[in-house]
C-alpha cells in the first residue's frame, strides 16, 4: 500500500517504515516556531513544572509578531518574558524588533523551512510551511511547551484529501481566489483532522509566495496540514535562502497512496473571489458582490503580505487614489526594504495609503487598523469571524491583494480585472 507525502514524513519522524491514517505516533520535531502570544504561556508552564529547558536551542525560531511593536503595557510584558527566555536559553534564531516579522512570512524567507521536515508552531497558520513539502501544523501552548522541552510530540496520522489544480489562472485571478474557492466548496470543517495535499499543473505557474497563500489557509477548512510536492521553483527558492544547506529529503506521494477524497479545481474558470462575513467559506465571485461599500482596506498578513502581494497592489494603485482608509503591512523587514527599494511605497503614499511596520496587527484585531461598530473592511487576511478585526458588529471581507486594492480605489468591493 502506498503512502502520501504526509504519511511518509510522519513515518520517517517516528522511526517507522509506514504509518496509516488514525494511528497515534510519537514523532521527532525539526523546527518549532514561537511568537509573542502563545509562547510566553508555554514558557511559564514549563517553569511551573520544573521543566525550564529547551531540547535544542538551534531548532527553535522566535519572532514576536502579533502585538509587535508592543501595543500596550500587557503586550510589552509578553515581549519581555519572551526576550528574557530567549537570552537565557541562547536561542540561536531569535528575531527581535527590527528583524521580527509575521512568522509565516519570516521563517521561509529566512531559510528555516526545509522539505521533508516536521514542524510545529504555536499558531494555527503554521500549516503555511507545507508549501515546501514539509509536514507543518499549528498547536496550542501546552503542545508547544512539550515540544520545546523534549523535541517530540504525539500526533494522530491524518487522512489525506487531494486537490488537483488544473489550468492556467486567468488574468486578475490569484492563488487567494483558488483557496477561497476550495474552502467555499468543502466548508470550514471540510478538511477537519485531515491533510490537504495540493497538486496539479497550475502550481507550475505559481511562485512560492503564491503557493504559501494556499497552504496558509488549509486551517480555514479545518485541515491539520496543507502540503505540496517539491519542484524546481521550490528548490530555487531554497537555494537562495536555506540556513542549513545540508541535504533535505523530497518526498512524493505514491501512485497508489490512499485519499479519502480527490477534488479537481478548474482554475481557468475561476473569477476573483470575496469571502463574505462571517466565515471564510462564504466565498462569492466578485460580480455577485461588487458595489458593496467598504470603510477600510487592509493589505498584509501571513496570507498576503509578501513582496509579490505588494507589487500586485501597487500595480493597481499606481497613479490612482484610494477613497477609503487603506493600510499596507509588509510582513517582514526584508519585504519592507524590498518594497522601499522598488519604490512601491511612493505608489502607496501617492495613492493615500498608510504603511505599517511588519506586524500581525489588525488581522486578528490586535491594533493598527481596528474597526468600529458597523464598519466593513476588505482584507487580504485569512479569517472573517465575528469581531475578528474589531467591534463584534464590524465585518471583514476576505479577498486577494488585487481585489482589495481595486476596492480601495472605488471605496466598494470592486473587480480588479479592469485595472490590470
Amino acid at each position: 500500500m502506498g503512502m502520501t507525502i504526509t504519511e511518509k514524513i510522519l513515518a520517517a519522524h517516528s522511526g517507522r517504515d509506514a504509518v496509516r491514517p488514525g494511528e497515534l505516533i510519537d514523532a521527532r520535531l525539526d523546527v518549532i516556531m514561537c511568537h509573542d502570544v502563545t509562547t510566553p504561556p508555554a514558557i511559564s508552564m514549563l517553569a511551573a513544572k520544573g521543566l525550564d529547558r529547551v531540547f535544542d536551542a538551534e531548532k527553535i525560531v522566535v519572532t514576536p509578531d502579533h502585538f509587535q511593536p508592543a501595543k500596550d503595557i500587557a503586550s510589552a510584558e509578553l515581549h519581555k518574558r519572551l526576550d528574557r527566555w530567549c537570552k537565557k536559553h541562547r536561542i540561536k534564531h531569535y528575531y527581535p524588533l527590527g528583524r521580527s516579522g509575521v512568522c509565516h512570512a519570516l521563517l521561509p524567507e529566512q531559510g528555516h523551512i526545509r522539505p521533508g521536515e516536521l514542524i510545529i508552531g504555536g499558531d494555527s497558520h503554521t500549516c503555511t510551511y507545507g508549501a515546501f513539502g514539509a509536514f507543518s501544523t499549528g498547536v496550542g501552548s501546552t503542545d508547544l511547551a512539550a515540544g520545546i522541552a523534549i523535541g517530540r510530540l504525539w500526533f494522530k496520522v491524518p487522512e489525506s484529501m487531494k486537490f488537483v489544480l488544473k489550468g492556467k489562472l486567468p488574468h486578475g485571478v490569484y492563488s487567494k481566489d483558488v483557496i477561497l474557492e476550495i474552502i467555499r466548496r468543502i466548508g470550514t470543517d471540510g478538511a477537519r483532522y485531515r491533510a490537504m495535499e495540493f497538486v496539479g499543473d497550475t502550481l507550475a505557474d505559481m511562485s512560492m509566495e503564491a503557493r504559501m497563500t494556499i497552504t496558509n489557509m488549509a486551517i480555514e477548512a479545518g485541515g491539520k496540514n496543507g502540503i505540496m510536492p517539491v519542484d524546481d521553483i521550490t528548490r530555487d527558492y531554497l537555494d537562495a535562502r536555506l540556513k542549513n544547506k545540508s541535504g533535505y529529503t523530497e518526498y512524493e506521494s505514491d501512485a497508489d497512496a490512499e485519499y479519502i477524497q480527490v477534488d479537481e479545481v478548474d482554475c481557468l474558470a475561476l473569477a476573483p473571489m470575496v469571502a463574505m462575513p462571517h466565515l471564510p467559506s462564504n466565498g462569492r465571485p466578485i460580480d455577485q458582490v461588487a458595489g458593496l461599500a467598504m470603510d477600510q482596506a487592509y493589505i498584509g498578513s501571513c496570507t498576503n503580505g509578501r513582496i509579490e502581494d505588494l507589487r500586485i497592489a501597487a500595480k493597481i494603485l499606481h497613479g490612482r487614489k484610494v477613497t477609503i482608509r487603506t493600510i499596507i503591512v509588509p510582513a517582514t523587514p526584508a519585504i519592507w526594504k524590498q518594497a522601499a527599494d522598488e519604490k512601491l511605497f511612493d505608489v502607496f503614499y501617492d495613492a493615500g495609503c498608510v504603511i505599517s511596520a511588519p506586524t500581525c496587527g489588525a488581522c486578528l484585531g490586535g491594533f493598527m487598523g481596528i474597526l468600529a461598530e458597523d464598519e466593513k473592511c476588505v482584507s487580504t487576511t485569512n479569517r472573517n469571524f465575528v469581531g475578528r478585526m474589531g467591534h463584534p458588529a464590524s465585518e471583514v471581507y476576505l479577498a486577494s491583494p488585487a481585489t482589495a486594492a481595486a476596492s480601495s480605489v472605488e471605496g466598494k468591493l470592486a473587480d480588479p480585472r479592469k485595472y490590470l
Partner: protein
C-alpha cells in the same frame, strides 16, 4: 446543580470564545471574565461552577490560542459538549486536562437550562430535566490518561 448553556450553532470560533483584544494576557481569571464575550455578553454572569456548554459542529475552530480553553476552564465550566470539535481546540483541551465530549445533535437533546449529569469515563450524559440518558464514545484511553494526570506536561516528567 449542573446546568446547560446551549448555543445551537456550528463553527463557534476562538475569536468568539476569547477575542484577540484580550490575548495580551495569559491570566486565567482575566481571560475567564471575557469568556464567550462576542457570542453572548451575558455568559459570564449566568454561568455557575460545574456548568456545561453545549454547541453544534466544529466548536473552537480558528486560532490555536489555548486561551480559549483557559477562558472556559477559568469560568469554572466543567466540560463542553458539542456535535464535533475543531482539531486544535480539541487537542488543547485534552492537553490542559479539560473535558470535551462529542455528542451528535447535542443541541437537540439538551435545552438551555437543562440539568445534566456527566459520566465522562462511562460515556453517558443524563439529562435530568427531560429524564433522558445519552451514550457517547468516551475519549480514547491515552487522552483520558492525560486528563487524569492533569494535563500533558504532567506526563513528561521522565522523558
Amino acid at each position: 446543580m449542573t446546568k446547560a448553556h446551549v448555543y445551537p450553532r456550528d463553527h463557534i470560533n476562538t475569536d468568539e470564545i476569547i477575542p484577540a483584544r484580550y490575548l495580551n494576557t495569559d491570566d486565567q481569571a482575566e481571560l475567564a471574565s471575557h469568556c464567550l464575550e462576542d457570542l453572548d455578553a451575558n455568559f459570564v454572569r449566568k454561568v455557575a461552577p460545574g456548568d456545561l456548554i453545549v454547541a453544534g459542529e466544529d466548536f473552537g475552530c480558528g486560532s490555536s490560542r489555548e486561551h480559549a480553553v483557559w477562558a472556559i476552564r477559568g469560568a469554572k465550566v466543567a466540560a463542553v459538549i458539542a456535535d464535533s470539535f475543531a482539531r486544535i481546540f480539541y487537542r488543547n483541551a485534552i492537553n490542559c486536562g479539560f473535558l470535551v465530549v462529542e455528542l451528535a445533535k447535542a443541541a437537540e437533546k439538551i435545552s438551555d437550562g437543562d440539568e445534566l449529569e456527566l459520566d465522562a469515563a462511562g460515556g453517558t450524559l443524563r439529562n435530568r430535566t427531560r429524564g433522558e440518558t445519552h451514550a457517547f464514545t468516551p475519549l480514547p484511553d491515552f487522552a483520558l490518561k492525560i486528563i487524569e494526570a492533569g494535563g500533558l506536561l504532567n506526563t513528561l516528567g521522565n522523558q
